[in-house]
Every structure is written in structure tokens, then in C-alpha cells.
Subunit: 385 residues, 2 copies
């Protein structure tokens, strides 16, 4: 099978997923043309990446960095844009086939919508896109026939297990969770944990926001909602299980009772590479998995009383409408406040819960409704700090 | 997708796999027409099955049982045949679509060949068919475009993991093994184990021959060779790992390092049902798998010094030609001798080893060569008892 060259836009190229994506592209230069790189505020790395990968354009969200980047890149024929609106506009370009969205939080939602409305394939690392507006995104997908390929290792695992099973209904999916750094902590001991402790994830090396979300299990809650939309599931078809070794990345159970799992070392690169070449698997230089080093895999149920965020995510999913969007917004504010030591670890859930109780409900939100819910919920969350 | 009615012949219908196959057919009567049932010597059960499932014909291998069966079935319009030759002949019938071969040992080889030469799909539980003459069977398969679908839970697991991955080369397969009842035994303690102990398999409820083969790990050696032919693999692409809980039924690793596994309770019915409806999965009434009951999965390398048969299987596979056929024949004699308490457990390997060293080698055996190797090796094995 001949592989067509992919023209790619990488949103969030200076973050953890973005950097790994560029490493994969560097390993397979013959299959990619980098069209767009974007960063939030890391101007120096964006310049360095642009000089190496020669995209047609770069976008920096923080406008204050524009002059520096423009100065560095103008002579190379690389167009420089600034501001979040540019991000959405640039995805209208006909030269882009695939958008890897590795933005963090709500900021990834509108670019996902833009990519889908413009018929691009989306390799989705920004799980918040589907958490915020899964119903709307699915509707856009149907209209514009765009494809979403998950980059999250859990959803990548599920996709890998579903390949070739198109005729067979799914009984349930089982999302595995490492349990994070506080797996065996009691309510009492969680009261005093610091951001520094929360940032020590035992298995996955990721950005700050998602590492805290992993520690609170909000991340797993987001993944539950993401799975619902990606694989068209009901709440009772999505189970979460704690698997501290993070070797089994997730599982699918079919109607005949058989389960399929995808496993390997915890390494985001395999999932990113799979999304980029889907459904092909290319060789990888990743470290080899050996059972000799992983002789024991264990499983335990999550403690929903201690990790309230996971329970809240199921509640928000069941309520639907704009509630998951409000939950996400409240979580963003609460996590930031925790990182800035304004609130304790256990207060994160409390703020989220208050926000989703208080927010004005909309059953069938439009794009504008999501934007205003996001703003409203952030304000609410601020008011509870 | 409309499911076509399958006209099925079940070879060995009174054995463990045969009985479970008929239970599945009883659960899905609308999808099957039972054309043929065959048994070795259990005349009573064959009669009972024939009265219930109303096949066009039955075959009893032991000719002495013919009169009794004929008497019971003649008035029902069910034809009765006797003798092993009838078994091969009956598979020429145009009315049969699929042959489930659950015969034990070398006796399954010629019927598999006959089914394939007659263009039938073969649901293969008789792994010895491919151990004895994998090269010849593959050649026949190519000529006659017949399909083999594995019934062994390990190979079924591999097939399930390979579905949809047709474009992606396999790096290796990992066959899991429970380790059998003597997993942690030393050479010394194995000397005195009895057939009764060997027949206590910790995880799988199977026939006598295969249960002893599991205890010696000959069964896993057979499965290695079976995997080679089913999935077109080299020796270094087939790994065996001890997994005492028997929850992961086997795994496949692809070129990108990702592994896929199929898992569930140890239950042959899932694998049989998968083979019968492949690639569809039908609902199953099997007991549900819960991680709460299987919170720990462990893995360890097999001890090839103690379980010599597994090492011998790799050696025989690498030698090729008629050597695996000789190994199988010697094993059949040795297992019988062990069950009859003529030899000890550890002597089984010794007899096999002597036979495959001594047998006249043929690099490219014909069907007749396999038949004579089988006879010659059995005689040799007898001479070593």
C-alpha cells in the first residue's frame, strides 16, 4: 500500500505531545509536509521548530511574542500569525489534510470544530474538545465527513481493539487508569498534598494540567466522556479500572464475552504514531516491552468516594447538554488555583460540583452556548475560590 | 449482515470439544444443519446426539459398534457408516460447508486433508493435523482455497487480534500457557507424579490426551508449530510465556511495538463459537469475566530444562520435514504408556527425543510419507518402552 504524504498542522507543537509528534515526523520525513506549527507562548522553541521543519505558517497565541518570531522567520518565507482567532482561520487552508490537536483545555475546542468544519482529519489529543461539545462535534463530523482519530493512549487502544470488528457490537469498554500518584491515599492524607507531589506522575510523562487531572482522576472522567462520543457508547458501557502498571492501555468487550486489549510500555509515541498513520503501523524505535520486566499486572476498582471527579464526570455526562462544558471550565480554574497553592487538592472537586449545580442549563447547546457556558462557569469557579 | 445456514460435520462429536460444539448449535439452531456426527467408540452418546440433532449420517470408527448404532438409527433415516476410511469419504459430500475437526492425535490428520481437498472450511481443534503435516496442508489449502479457522483458544486469540490488521506485519506472537498442574515442580518431584495427578489440570477442562500434553507442555509445543503454519511465522516469532491464570489467551505484537491480547475466562466455548461464526461474534451465555475476580495476572518464562517437550517441539519445527510427525507419533505412544503406568512422567520426553533422532528423515514428505513416518515412529517408540 502506497502511503500518501500527509500535510499536517500541529496545534500545540511546543508541548509534550507536540514535541513527540515532531520527533515521529523527523523519523518519517518522506511521509509528511509540516504546514502549520502553533504554540501558546514558547516563542523560542516555536522558532527552533519552524527553522527545522519549515512549515508554511506558524501561529503564536500570545500576541506579545509576535515581533520576535516574525523577526526570526520572515527571511525564511514562513508566515507568522498571532492570536487565538488566527488558529481557527488557518485551519481553513486547503493545503492541510490532518490536524493534530494537542492544545490544552477548552482552548482546543474551537480549533477542533474549525478543523472538522473544514473537512480535515483530526488526530485528537485535546480530549476536552469532546468533553466540552461532543454532541456538536459529532453532528459536524456527520455533516462534513471528517474523521477523528484519538491520540490518547486509552482511546487509541480501544480503536486498535475495534479494528476489523465493525460487524460486532461492543458490550463495553474498560478504560484503564494508573491511579496516579495518590492511588492509595486516604481522604485525610490528600488534604495536604502539594502541587509538587501531584506533578510526580508514576507512569506517564505529560504536561502540567493533564498531570494534575490524572492525580484527581478528572482526566479519567474526561476520557469516559471522550469514549462515549468517539465510540458511540452509553454510560453503562464505559467502565474504569485501576491498573497501576499502565501496561494494558484499555480494553473492549464484545457480545460474545471475549475481551480484546492493547498493551505495551506507557509511551505516548506509539499512540501518536498510530494516529498519524492509521490504520497502518510503522516501525518504531521505542523501547521494547518484555514480560520479564512486567511479570505482574494488577487491577482494582477506583475509589469514587475519594476521587470525586470521576463520579462527577459520569454525573455530568448523564446530565449532558452544557454540563460537561461547565465541569471542564470549573476544573481548569480549580487546577490553576491548586497549582498556585490557592486551594487544597480536595477542594478541586468541591468547586467543580458547585459549578455544575449552579450553571444555567442548556440541553442542546450551540457553539455560542458552549462559549458562554465556558465563560460563565469560569466566573462561577473564580467566585468559589 | 445475513448469516447463511452452515451445513456442518462434527468429527469427534462425543468428545469434550464435540459436545460443546453441539451445545452451541443447540443455542443457535437457526444457523446450522448438522450433516455428520462421528465418534471413536462412544456408541451410546453418538446415538443420543443423532436422535437429537438429526444428522444425515453418522460414522463410528470402531466397527464393532456398527450393529447397535444401525439398529437405533435406521428407522430415522440416518445413514450409519463404520471405520476410519468412511470418515474421509464422507467429507467428500457436497452438502457439507464446514468441518469441525475435534479428533485426537494423528487420527485427525487425514480427515483434515480430506476436508481441505474437498474445499470445505475447517474449524480445527485437532492441532496435530498441522503438527504432523503443516507444509502439506498449507499447500492443499492454496490449491483448493479452503479456509482453516483455529478452535484452540490460543490461536483463536491470535486470529482475533489479527482481524483488521491485514496491512500490518506481525513482529511476534506470544502464546500463553497455564503451566499445567506441575508448573512449580522440580525435576526430582516430577519423577514420581501419577497419571491421576497429571489429569488434574488447574484451568482447562479437556480430554485425557490433551490434559497430559498440557502437563508435559507438549501441548504448548504443538501450539507453537500450529501457530507457525496458521499465521505463517518463523520460529523466532513465536514466544511462549507462562501465565497461570489463563486469562490472557494469547497476544500479537506488531511492528510498532504495540501488543494486542484477547482475554476472558478460560472457556473453550467462546473459541468454538468464534470459529463457527467467524468473523461474527454472537451473544454468549458464558459466565461473565470480572477483574474483581482476577485482580492479578502474572507471567513467567517456561522452564525448558524441566519441560523438555517444549524445547523438543522447537527443535522438531526447525528440522521440519517428517520430524514433527515423528514427534507426535512418539508422544502418542509415550502418553498412552504413561497413562497405563508403564513409564514415568519424565520418560515421555526421553522416548520422543530418541524417536526423532532415530527416524528416517524426509525433507518434503508426501501424504504417504506422513502415514509411514507415523507408523515407523510408533513402532520405534514402542521399542523404547
Amino acid at each position: 500500500m502506497e502511503i500518501q504524504k500527509k500535510h499536517i498542522a500541529i496545534l500545540g507543537s511546543t508541548g509534550s505531545i507536540g514535541k513527540q509528534t515532531l520527533e515521529i515526523i523527523a523519523a518519517f520525513p518522506e511521509y509528511f509536509v509540516v504546514e502549520v506549527l502553533t504554540a501558546n507562548k514558547n516563542a523560542d522553541l516555536l522558532i527552533e521548530q519552524a527553522l527545522k521543519y519549515k512549515p508554511g505558517s506558524v501561529v503564536i497565541a500570545g500576541k506579545e511574542h509576535y515581533p520576535k518570531i516574525e523577526k526570526a522567520l520572515w527571511s525564511r518565507g514562513i508566515k507568522v500569525f498571532a492570536g487565538k482567532d488566527s488558529l481557527e482561520q488557518i485551519l481553513e487552508s486547503d493545503t492541510i489534510d490532518i490536524v493534530l490537536n494537542a492544545l490544552v483545555g477548552f482552548s482546543g475546542f474551537l480549533p477542533t470544530c474549525s478543523a472538522i468544519k473544514n473537512g480535515k482529519a483530526v488526530a485528537l489529543a485535546n480530549k476536552e474538545s469532546l468533553v466540552v461539545g461532543g454532541a456538536l462535534i459529532k453532528e459536524m463530523q456527520r455533516t462534513h465527513k471528517s474523521r477523528i482519530i484519538p491520540v490518547d493512549s486509552e482511546h487509541s487502544a480501544i480503536l486498535q481493539c475495534l479494528i476489523g470488528e465493525e460487524l460486532n457490537p461492543v458490550k463495553k469498554v474498560i478504560l484503564t487508569a494508573s491511579g496516579g500518584p495518590f492511588r492509595n491515599y486516604t481522604q485525610g492524607s490528600l488534604k495536604t498534598v502539594t502541587p509538587e507531589q501531584a506533578l510526580q506522575h508514576p507512569k506517564w510523562n505529560m504536561g502540567k494540567k493533564i498531570t494534575i487531572d490524572s492525580a484527581t482522576m478528572m482526566n479519567k472522567g474526561f476520557e469516559v466522556i471522550e469514549a462515549k462520543w468517539l465510540f458511540d457508547l452509553q454510560a453503562d458501557q464505559i467502565e474504569v479500572i485501576i491498573h497501576p502498571q499502565s501496561i494494558i492501555h484499555s480494553m473492549v468487550q464484545f457480545g460474545d464475552g471475549a475481551l480484546k486489549a492493547q498493551l505495551g510500555l506507557p509511551d505516548m509515541k506509539t499512540a501518536i504514531q498510530y494516529a498519524l498513520f492509521f490504520p497502518l503501523r510503522m516501525k518504531s524505535e521505542s523501547r521494547e516491552f518484555h514480560f520479564a520486566e512486567h511479570a505482574e499486572l494488577t487491577f482494582e476498582p477506583p475509589d469514587l468516594k475519594i476521587f470525586r471527579n470521576l463520579a462527577l464526570a459520569y454525573e455530568a455526562m448523564n446530565e449532558g447538554g452544557n454540563i460537561p462544558c461547565a465541569m471542564n471550565a470549573a476544573n481548569e480554574i480549580a487546577v490553576e488555583a491548586f497549582l498556585n497553592k490557592k486551594i487544597g487538592f480536595l477542594e478541586i472537586s468541591g468547586i467543580i460540583e458547585k459549578c455544575i449545580k449552579k450553571i444555567n442549563k442548556t440541553a442542546h447547546p450551540t457553539l455560542d452556548d458552549y462559549i458562554s457556558t465556558n465563560q460563565e462557569a469560569r466566573k462561577l469557579a473564580w467566585s468559589y475560590l
